[in-house]
Amino acid sequence: MKPTRPLIEAVGLSISFGPKHARTRVVDDVSFRINEGEAYGLIGESGCGKSTILRALSGLNGDYDGALTLADKELPKTRSKDFFRRVQMVFQDPYGSLHPRKIVEKVLAEPLAIHGIDRASERITETLDAVGLGPSFRYRYPHELSGGQRQRVAIARALITDPEILLLDEPTSALDVSVQAEILNLLRRLRIERNLTYLMVSHDLAVIAHICERAGMMYKGKIIEELTSHQIRQSQAGQDYTREFLQATIEAVARRDEAVA
């Protein structure tokens, strides 16, 4: 076994929004560690603060309390350029995340130019291929792509700088199941091949259990407990809330069993 050390760490992370007199704390004293090469999930109901944590870690929102560290070094609120090469984010919403007037090639060429990475044309071909888009997609605009095709472009853009860490916010919730299977297989394969570390949000517990070793269960801005993928599959929880949350999904799975039986 390779030695494990925390690659990402959150210590007492709190994030609030709103004007001074009416601030709402949407992330409340959250701490977690993710080892190098590990995949960690965040689960919890809509609005509990999952995306907000990812945005803070990704450097999109520097307005937080507590510390975020990368390889034992506390991250400055304004991240360095190198950080943005090493840590890439894939968003929940494949619509807002692509610039409407840039063709796919440009979307993929830009991060390469910013970080001075060579072999641009070849890398673009390889990466498009890796996410299951043929060469004909290279010259399309986002509005000429379906929702799923856009999300594949977004994943390609994240992969193209050869990052160490991917922050994945519902990366497959806009995809049909056949592409989801492809992307999940791809994410699993890439993690092993490139020793990537993932922080992933998904409302689909089967997806979390498939990709992640561990997950933090969130409720109203707090991580109330951590579960292994095995515990998620077996619906073993320490807290009542978690049990209810998992149970709600088990019912959905029971329906699935009817469907494929």
């Binding site: 609005g47 299977a181 999940l184 409302h203 959905a252 469907a259």
Partner: protein
């Protein structure tokens, strides 16, 4: 059977490009009554375009043709833009796949709902505000007073989707076209949102066209399922029969799902067979 709300025969949607044209929807026929019809199928198969064509909201450059395309007694193909606006405002609502784009980014969420409400109901602003808050509560938004004052970029993905749903229910339409309405929601909220939609459909006899890639959800929630592939309907069957699907494409979709009860190394990725492009299609388990 009652006369369907929607009756479409041989719908085609073609994009004319500079070099080449391509057919995104290739001869689709279906009806929707006062029922819940799910549309599944892979990305790019033409689900959204089919839904949008009913409101003539397809992108510029898309050319729609059909033998016929009717909403009740209205011929949608020949309807003027003015008639279409009336249909969109009052009779057919669409919940879009991209909620953030369909909300006005510069306007507080509460004001948008109030405005939409007052467009359809003659009420004083104070009353409309109360209604708007009640609507946010009905779609399970915690803390509606706070959310009322937020801008669209300040709400989570799932909240945006529920707000869209609340807005679309305001005119009490005959037909709702919901394009991936719950894809960003966790199971608990998803179930609540579906309950709201279900209640409406059952109680008011609204028709629902439910576009989704979640096969389990469609199987349990809808009455009928249309399975699309490469611009065609490969299979049209009762939702309760989805597990007995005949088309190999439908079968492969079912097999590609990750499952909680069994851990696997790799998921089965459906193989796409070129012969499906123009091959046989199935209706109610029989070759059509």
């Amino acid at each position: 059977m009652d006369k369907p709300l929607i009756d479409v025969k041989d719908l085609r949607i073609r994009f004319h490009g500079a070099q080449r044209s391509h057919d995104a929807v290739r001869g689709v026929s279906f009806t929707i009554g006062r029922e819940k019809v799910g549309i599944v199928g892979e990305s790019g198969s033409g689900k959204s375009l089919t839904g949008r064509s009913l409101l003539k909201l397809t992108p510029k450059g898309a050319k729609i043709s059909a033998t016929h395309m009717r909403f009740k007694d209205i011929d949608l193909l020949s309807a003027s833009e003015r008639e279409m606006r009336k249909i969109r405002g009052n009779h057919i609502s669409m919940i879009l796949q991209d909620p953030k784009y369909s909300l006005n980014p510069l306007m507080r969420i509460g004001n948008q709902i109030v405005e939409a409400y007052r467009l359809h109901h003659k009420t004083r602003p104070a009353e409309a505000k109360e209604k708007a808050l009640a609507m946010l509560e009905a779609v399970q938004i915690r803390d509606p007073d706070r959310v009322f004052k937020l801008f669209p970029h300040e709400v989570s993905g799932g909240m945006g989707q529920r707000i869209m749903i609340a807005m679309m229910l305001i005119p009490e339409p005959d037909l709702i076209i919901a394009d991936e309405p719950t894809s960003a929601l966790d199971v608990t909220v998803r179930r609540q949102v579906l309950t709201i939609l279900d209640e409406l459909v059952t109680r008011r006899g609204t028709g629902l066209m439910f576009i989704s890639h979640d096969l389990n959800l469609v199987a349990s929630f809808c009455d009928r399922v249309l399975v699309m592939y490469a611009g065609r309907i490969m299979e049209d069957l009762p939702a309760s029969e989805l597990h007995n699907a005949r088309h190999p494409y439908t079968q492969s979709l079912l097999e590609s799902l990750p499952r909680l009860d069994v851990a696997v190394e790799n998921l089965t990725v459906p193989v796409r067979d070129p012969s499906w492009l123009d091959g046989p299609v199935y209706r109610n388990g029989e070759l059509a």
